[in-house]
Symmetry: C2
């Protein structure tokens, strides 16, 4: 008896690959469509990535920003969730190839996102972890806390200083948010935790190759964000390129000179590369991919020559007429997901659809408690008001109500006590590295 | 410059090994004593183990039941926390040997607890994970959720049934609590999550070698607990011994006959063995250890012939006059910690101290939502009242206020929605195991 075929096959099979913002919002927007939806993901949960840095810095637990995909879609009877990995696409036979099976589609929506990359220096991956998965965040958290522990036990002043030096590579929103959170941890959260070191002595360096931090924001907001960070004890180094990373140092190239900095903790918030499925689609459909590995899509997010295949989210290189490619942001992904769902519904009815148009509600980055920058079209503001807006929007955007309550409670407690309860080091080695002496 | 010697040495050095209930409560009770306390643990957090099964079953996140040791002790200026592993004790020179250093003591308090063990079948460890650490709990959670995922994708009815069969070995409080939570997950939490299986078809077997579950409780409470579990769909098998575990089955011996059960998920809640430091103390001090590896201590919890060495908590075999050894429960450990701290304070003043006496406030076990059993001396009760008492006591006992708020919020949400938000599978393989076909 084949359990999968016990119900009559619905007319149109939509397969969505990836349960991030793009894929999940596409699935949700197909709720009442006369289609059979299969959402495939390697993980059993949707991750609210904009808050992942708060897991890395001990404010939130992974469970607070993860929603089980089955739970989110449980009442959507036309949708099933498949925990599986897609390794190939057969665009002729219209089948996706899983690592352990196959699945046919009538419409395919690929939304497998991106991961961090190291601009050809992939050997840096183990030295300077990035921040894309729950495991990444827990590893970052472990390294940050371990560095303070190791400094506490280190009798040599130079080595202690190296343990207390944190280098963040890349000053986009993630880098800025990590730097701000690290500044607060060093100055406030750990204030009385140690007996031989003063955590406020930590050197937090935010390194950016552009001439200012938060390059997508207006220059005035970049300057305000930099000023906030400086007040939290963060040293902002713009126009600086990382040319080397090893277990004990980082080499920076800045203004024609090279400098080697002793550090044991380098965190990567710089490069982003599209998921390998971009290359697969290139081979199988003849689509073009850009330098970051993203698939160049039509104005309706479909792959040229394959109106039945859509690519959305971070994996898509989506160019509005006459404009630059849309950035890899959660709102872009959500809107594309909803747009593609509408496109599918209308196509089934035989109707057309205008091209995808991104509505920019604005972008924000948080720097610390009560400090953020926000840019809503021509409106630029920073400080407490921007921070309240950031808190409100991020709470409301969490997919599940449970998560909203939990995150709100933790933020409220963090706000009033500076405490970060989720400061546990887990995983393989939670002991300070063995000293050479 | 040696940072560790920058302050004048206080008169009396108390070294506490282990930050569980016994060690942490000893440290806290030495707050105002004229001693220098060093609390050594391999982990940077105190874990509220009685709620670990709720992490394993997706109700709570690890951060909710963990309190950073440095945070708990930050205002206790006579105390420092050392993240390190103790590998040996030099009882003559009065030094503990760390994996990366040494540390002298005047009074040593050893409270390194216990871990699960397999009665000589240590090869079962990877097949049937136990529940002692955060990592154990996340591994259990991963296996439980993975089994439902694998069943959803399994076309073969027999294999599907094997994936949906969960065997819990040992019906002490942990086994009973796990079984109850699993029953709720299968019947309520996952009710609408799947499309090809019905999670309520899960077979949950609770296997106990004694003739009833919860052997330390009164027989009437055991019977009530068993009735509650049966209502949750749990099959209780008493008088049954596990004689074999492999990747695809469990062999049970019961009533003179052997039976082989197909299952892919075996969870271990049976044997407990004392930490290896018990054996170290035996070698270094001539102390006796019992069959479970626990150090037999004097009536004041000290090691015979070594009044300066105390062993408390699960590692101690502490026998009240004429009674049986005290059980390995959190209240025993807390009271021993507080007692030993008092003993140290009084000894420094030249005063004596009565022997340790355990005050039994009662024991409880929770079976599910609104169902628990409680035994407070001659008072035995079950049902909703016992459950409310359990909730209240466990919330109040959480070391940090932050955790109390978070756990309360999550329980409240779980109670009203049946939802378990922390159902994420993390770690190495979050994909269903490859099928043979």
């Amino acid at each position: 008896m084949d359990a999968l075929s016990s119900s009559p096959a619905p007319p149109h099979r939509v397969v969505i690959v990836g349960g991030g913002f793009a894929g999940l919002y596409a699935a949700l927007a197909l709720k009442r469509a006369p289609v059979q939806v299969t959402l495939i993901d390697r993980r059993n949960f949707h991750l609210f990535q904009p808050l992942l840095y708060q897991v890395a810095t001990g404010t939130l637990s992974p469970g607070d920003i993860a929603s089980p995909l089955r739970g989110v879609l449980k009442r959507q009877r036309n949708t099933q969730v498949l925990l599986a990995e897609v390794v190939d696409v057969d665009a002729v036979q219209r089948r996706v190839v899983l690592s352990d099976g196959e699945l046919g589609y009538d419409t395919l929506i690929v939304a497998t996102g991106s991961s961090h990359h190291y601009f050809g220096n992939e050997q840096w991956a183990s030295l300077a972890p990035g921040l894309k998965t729950v495991e990444d965040a827990l590893e970052m958290r472990r390294r940050i806390l371990l560095a303070f522990e190791a400094a506490e036990r280190e009798p040599d002043a130079d080595l202690r200083r190296a343990w207390l030096t944190f280098v963040l590579v890349g000053a986009g929103p993630t880098g800025v948010e990590l730097a701000g959170a690290l500044g607060e941890i060093a100055r406030h959260t750990l204030q009385r935790d140690f007996r031989t070191i003063n955590p406020a002595d930590a050197h937090i360096l935010l390194v950016e190759v552009a001439d200012r931090i938060l390059p997508p924001f207006a220059p005035t907001l970049s300057a305000q964000a930099a000023a906030h960070l400086t007040r939290l004890g963060v040293t902002v180094l713009t126009g600086a390129r990382v040319t080397g990373i090893d277990a004990e140092s980082v080499t920076l190239h800045r203004g024609g000179a090279s400098e080697r900095l002793s550090t044991r903790t380098v965190l990567w918030a710089a490069g982003v590369a599209a998921s390998p499925l971009g290359r697969v689609l290139q081979q199988r459909t003849g689509a073009t991919i850009d330098r970051a590995g993203r698939v160049v899509v039509e104005s309706d997010c479909s792959v040229p020559g394959h109106p039945e295949i859509f690519v959305i989210g971070d994996l898509a290189c989506c160019m509005p007429p006459g404009g630059a490619p849309l950035p890899g942001l959660a709102p872009v992904a959500m809107q594309q997901g909803q747009y593609v769902a509408k496109r599918v519904r209308r196509r089934l009815r035989g109707d057309g659809c205008e091209p995808f148009r991104y509505f920019d509600y604005g972008t924000m980055a948080v720097i610390g408690r009560g400090a953020a920058v926000a840019q809503i079209r021509s409106l630029h503001f920073d400080g407490f008001l921007a921070w309240v807006a950031w808190v409100f929007i991020h709470i409301m955007r969490l997919v599940e109500y449970d998560n909203r309550v939990l995150v709100f409670v933790q933020w409220a407690m963090n706000y009033f006590t500076w405490n970060r309860g989720a400061r546990l080091m887990t995983g393989e080695s939670s002991l300070p590295l063995r000293r050479g002496t």
